[in-house]
């Protein structure tokens, strides 16, 4: 599903407002009421987190909390693929087991799709990196959030990649690793 981006009418002074113009404003409100959002999580855990930087493996998200615009697919669970173009805000958390022996870090990468004027297959990032040092009781959980700095076109995708000072794995619990996005602007 691709939502139709709103078109705000220009209504000059002295003009007679048409029904179409008012309905365009209404469509913009409807868009905002139903704007694209997704939150997916690593409900399985046990994914390897290696020591190579930059990491090349994408964290897989086996479950979705919600996905209002068809960005997540169970057949391609390692990314969120943009359906409706725009600027997006992003959130993510990487969670490793309490026994994690070394620090972990993570960041978001973008892969451009066919709809991007720069062409498909370009990898951009990382943006919004984060880091945590493990502790025996708390484990290592690192979160991050921010506005994705590049305009996203339909077909572009975002993926979470993690790395560690020594090999470890993600863990699944009541608050697993997750990736979320929210459309914020045309």
């Amino acid at each position: 599903m691709t939502l139709v981006l709103p078109s705000i009418p220009d209504i000059p002074a002295g003009s007679i407002v048409t029904a179409d113009q008012l309905n365009d404003i209404g469509s913009a409100c409807t868009f905002l009421l139903n704007k694209p959002m997704a939150l997916v999580n690593d409900s399985v855990g046990g994914q390897s987190v290696g020591t190579t930087y930059p990491p090349t493996a994408n964290v897989s998200f086996a479950s979705k909390n919600y996905d209002t615009d068809g960005m997540w697919s169970s057949s391609a669970p390692t990314k969120l693929t943009i359906q409706t173009p725009g600027f997006y805000k992003v959130w993510f958390t990487i969670v490793c087991a309490s026994g994690t022996p070394a620090s972990v870090g993570a960041g978001l990468w973008e892969t451009t799709g066919a709809g991007n004027p720069a062409g498909s297959g370009n990898v951009i990032g990382p943006f919004w990196g984060t880091y945590a040092e493990p502790q025996a009781t708390t484990g290592a959980r690192a979160s991050c959030m921010g506005l994705w700095p590049v305009y996203l076109y339909a077909g572009d995708s975002l993926s979470l990649r993690a790395y560690a000072a020594s090999n470890t794995t993600t863990t699944s619990n009541t608050n697993p690793s997750c990736l979320g996005v929210e459309w914020v602007s045309v």
Partner: protein
């Protein structure tokens, strides 16, 4: 409660309905103004003792903004937000601990708890989200702060609550950010949340 404009009016040629026009104006106001759309911003201006190895709700005690009346002003949930308007929400917070304690591990998280109006989750059931945790910095000599934020995994309903919580492996006090130096207390302890989107 804020009236969510779930039904956006449509107009026909020659439409003279003032009610439709007002409904459209209300919808635009809802989406363009945080004075109307639910949003809160709480601060903490007093320190607070934290027991060791216990998740403690941060008692944010100063309300800078609260367009929907969600602030919980007293009781065990002091400083939490009790949802008034249904929808998807985002929460962001910053919490810190004062220097001087023997703290090995330090974490923060959000805890959402279902109220009686939530049709999707049992009363008093909860979900943790946005958790950050790990080895604390040199807390013997400097304050430590964590900023955390996330989409709430649930659609929230009136009566549901969201708490920002702190965990420390040792007993210590929360910091309030006096901003007296670059190194110490440069983050203000605060808790922000906002309505994102309609949902069921």
């Amino acid at each position: 409660m804020v009236a969510i404009p779930t039904t956006i009016p449509t107009f026909a040629d020659g439409d003279t309905s003032l009610a439709n026009l007002e409904a459209l104006a209300s919808a635009v106001q809802f989406f363009s103004s945080c004075d109307v759309r639910p949003m809160w911003h709480f601060y903490k201006t007093a320190t607070e003792s934290l027991a060791a190895a216990t998740w403690t709700t941060v008692s944010y005690n100063f309300v800078a903004a609260d367009s929907d009346g969600v602030y919980v002003p007293s009781g065990t949930l002091l400083g939490a937000a009790q949802i008034v308007t249904q929808g998807y929400y985002v929460t962001e917070a910053c919490a810190g601990i004062l220097a001087g304690g023997a703290v090995a591990g330090f974490g923060t998280r959000f805890l959402a708890i279902a109220g009686s109006s939530n049709p999707n989750h049992a009363l008093a059931s909860g979900i943790v989200y946005g958790q950050t945790a790990g080895l604390a910095p040199d807390t013997a000599n400097q304050d430590a702060q964590l900023c955390f934020g996330s989409l709430c995994p649930w659609v929230l309903y009136p009566g549901d609550t969201i708490q920002a919580q702190v965990f420390c492996t040792g007993a210590v006090s929360t910091s309030t950010a006096s901003n007296t130096s670059y190194v110490k207390g440069r983050f203000a302890a605060n808790f922000t949340g906002y309505w994102q989107r309609y949902g069921t």
